[in-house]
C-alpha cells in the first residue's frame, strides 16, 4: 500500500489533472467490457502497460507487484469456469459429476480472464499515477455531497496514522513474541485490533480540537492547487478512446 501510494505521489504524471486520468481509465474499461474481443483485450493490456511503465514512468517491478494480487483471483476464477458440475438424478450411486467444459466455453473462460486483465491494467494505471485524494476532490466536483467527500478525505489521512500505529504495534508485539504460536497470534491480533479502536476515536477527537483552533465549524474547505483539466485534452482522450473502440472492434 505504501509503495503504490508513494509512486502515485512522486510519479511523472502526478500533476496531470485527475479528471483526465479517470476519463482515460473509465473509457478504456468501457471499451474492454462492451466492445473488445480477445485480440482487443490483449491490445488494451499492452497499451495500458506501455502507458503506465513507458510514459508515466512507473517502475516496472512496482507495476508487476500491483498486478500480482488480482492475478491470483483471476487464475482461480478462470480455472473454476473450466470445470462443469452436474447432478446425476435419481440413479443409484449417482451424485456430483465433474467434467471439463466444452471448448467453446473454455474459450469464453479465457476471454473473461483476458478482459479482466485488461481492465485491471487500466485500474493499475489510475492507481499508480493518481494520488487518491485527487480523485476524491474530483468526485466532489462531480456532485458527490461535500460531507461524504470530506469524510473520505479525512479517512485517507487517518488511515496513514492508524496504519503507522498498526505497524509499530505489531512490531512491538513481535519483539515480545506475540506471534510465536498460533493461539498467541489470535490473542495478539485481538489486543491490537481492540487497542486501535479507542486510539482511532481519540485521534478523531484530538483532530477536532486541532481544527477548531483554526476556525473549523463543520466545513473542510481547502484550496486545491491542482490544474484544471483542459477541455482540449479531455476531448483528445475521448477521441483516443473512440479510436481504440474502433480498432478493437475491427481486430475482434
Amino acid at each position: 500500500m505504501r509503495q503504490l501510494d508513494s509512486v502515485a505521489w512522486t510519479g511523472r504524471w502526478k500533476r496531470r489533472p485527475a479528471a483526465e486520468k479517470l476519463c482515460l481509465c473509465l473509457g478504456v474499461m468501457t471499451v474492454s467490457l462492451a466492445v473488445a474481443g480477445p485480440g482487443g483485450q490483449v491490445l488494451i493490456f499492452a497499451l495500458m502497460a506501455l502507458l503506465t511503465v513507458g510514459l508515466a514512468g512507473v517502475p516496472f517491478w512496482t507495476w508487476l507487484r500491483a498486478l500480482l494480487l488480482p492475478a491470483g483471483f483471476l487464475v482461480l476464477g478462470v480455472l473454476t469456469l473450466f470445470v462443469s458440475v452436474g447432478w446425476a438424478e435419481g440413479e443409484a450411486g449417482g451424485g456430483v459429476t465433474l467434467a471439463l467444459v466444452p471448448p467453446t466455453d473454455r474459450e469464453a473462460a479465457v476471454f473473461v480472464g483476458l478482459r479482466s486483465a485488461a481492465c485491471v491494467s487500466a485500474l493499475v494505471f489510475l492507481a499508480l499515477t493518481t494520488p487518491l485524494p485527487a480523485l476524491m476532490t474530483l468526485l466532489r466536483r462531480l456532485g458527490v455531497p461535500r460531507d461524504v467527500a470530506d469524510v473520505a478525505l479525512l479517512m485517507f489521512r487517518f488511515l496513514w496514522l492508524l496504519f503507522h500505529c498498526l505497524e509499530t504495534g505489531r512490531r512491538s508485539q513481535t519483539a515480545r513474541l506475540g506471534y510465536a504460536s498460533r493461539s498467541r497470534w489470535l490473542r495478539s491480533s485481538a489486543l491490537l485490533a481492540a487497542g486501535l479502536l479507542p486510539r482511532a476515536l481519540d485521534r478523531g477527537t484530538r483532530m477536532d480540537a486541532g481544527l477548531r483552533a483554526r476556525g473549523y465549524d463543520g466545513s473542510l474547505a481547502t484550496l486545491s492547487s491542482e490544474e484544471r483539466p483542459s477541455l482540449l485534452r479531455l476531448g483528445g482522450i475521448a477521441g483516443g478512446v473512440l479510436v481504440l473502440g474502433g480498432v478493437t472492434a475491427w481486430i475482434g
Partner: protein
C-alpha cells in the same frame, strides 16, 4: 472476498451498481444529516472508517494456515447502524481498489452489495436478535461476525454464478462450484474472524 476488476460482464456490473446505489445514497443522506447536527462526528466517522480499512490489513491466521482480511464493517454497523456503515464500507472498498488494486471500479457495485450491505446487515441484525434473545455478548458477536462473513461469501458466489452459469447445471451448479472453491479459505476465515471479533468485544468491554 473481492470480485476483481473486469471479471463481471457489463450488464451485471451495471445491475449490481443499480442495486447498491440507492442503499449507499440513503446511507449518505443519513450521514449528512448526522454530521450537520454534530460537526465533530465528521472526524469520528472518518476515524472509524479508517479503522475499518486498517482492520482489513490485520492478518489473522485461519485453521488452514492461509491469512486473509476480516472486514470490520460489522463493527462499524454496530457503532453507527448499517446504513452509515454501508457508506463507510463503500469508501473502504474504493480505497482498496485504488491503493491496493484489490477489487475494482466496474465491480464496485457488486462488491459493495456483498461486503458493505449484506454482510453488515446480517451481522448487525444477528447481533441484535441474539442479544434480544438473551445470548451472552461475546457469543452473539461471534455468530454475528462469523455469519456476516459467510453471508458475504455466499452472496459473492451467487453473484459469480449469476454471471457465469454452469453449462450443465445452470445457476445452482455454478453456485455450488464457486461456493466450494472458495469454501476452503472462507469458512476457516469466518471462524477466525468470529473468534477475533469476540475477543476484541470482550477487551473493549474492559477498556
Amino acid at each position: 472476498m473481492h470480485i476483481m476488476e473486469g471479471f463481471l460482464p457489463v450488464g451485471h456490473a451495471v445491475a449490481w451498481t443499480a442495486v447498491s446505489a440507492p442503499v449507499v445514497a440513503y446511507g449518505s443522506w443519513r450521514l449528512i444529516r448526522t454530521v450537520r447536527q454534530n460537526p465533530e462526528l465528521k472526524l469520528l466517522l472518518a476515524a472509524s472508517g479508517a479503522y475499518v480499512f486498517i482492520l482489513s490489513a490485520l492478518k489473522i491466521p485461519s485453521v488452514t494456515g492461509s491469512c486473509s482480511h476480516p472486514t470490520g464493517t460489522g463493527l462499524a454497523a454496530s457503532l453507527f447502524g448499517p446504513w452509515i456503515a454501508a457508506v463507510l464500507g463503500t469508501i473502504v472498498l474504493l480505497f482498496q481498489a485504488l491503493l491496493l488494486a484489490h477489487g475494482g471500479l466496474t465491480t464496485l457495485g457488486a462488491n459493495v452489495f456483498s461486503m458493505a450491505i449484506v454482510g453488515p446487515i446480517v451481522a448487525w441484525s444477528l447481533f441484535r436478535g441474539l442479544r434480544g434473545a438473551g445470548v451472552a455478548g461475546a457469543v452473539a458477536i461471534f455468530f454475528a461476525a462469523a455469519l456476516g462473513d459467510l453471508a458475504t461469501y455466499v452472496v459473492t458466489s451467487f453473484q459469480l454464478a449469476a454471471a457465469f452459469p454452469d453449462p450443465v447445471s445452470g445457476f445452482w451448479g455454478a453456485s455450488a462450484k464457486f461456493l466450494s472453491v472458495f469454501a476452503l479459505t472462507q469458512i476457516p476465515l469466518a471462524i477466525s474472524e468470529g473468534l477475533l471479533t469476540a475477543i476484541v468485544y470482550n477487551l473493549l468491554q474492559r477498556y
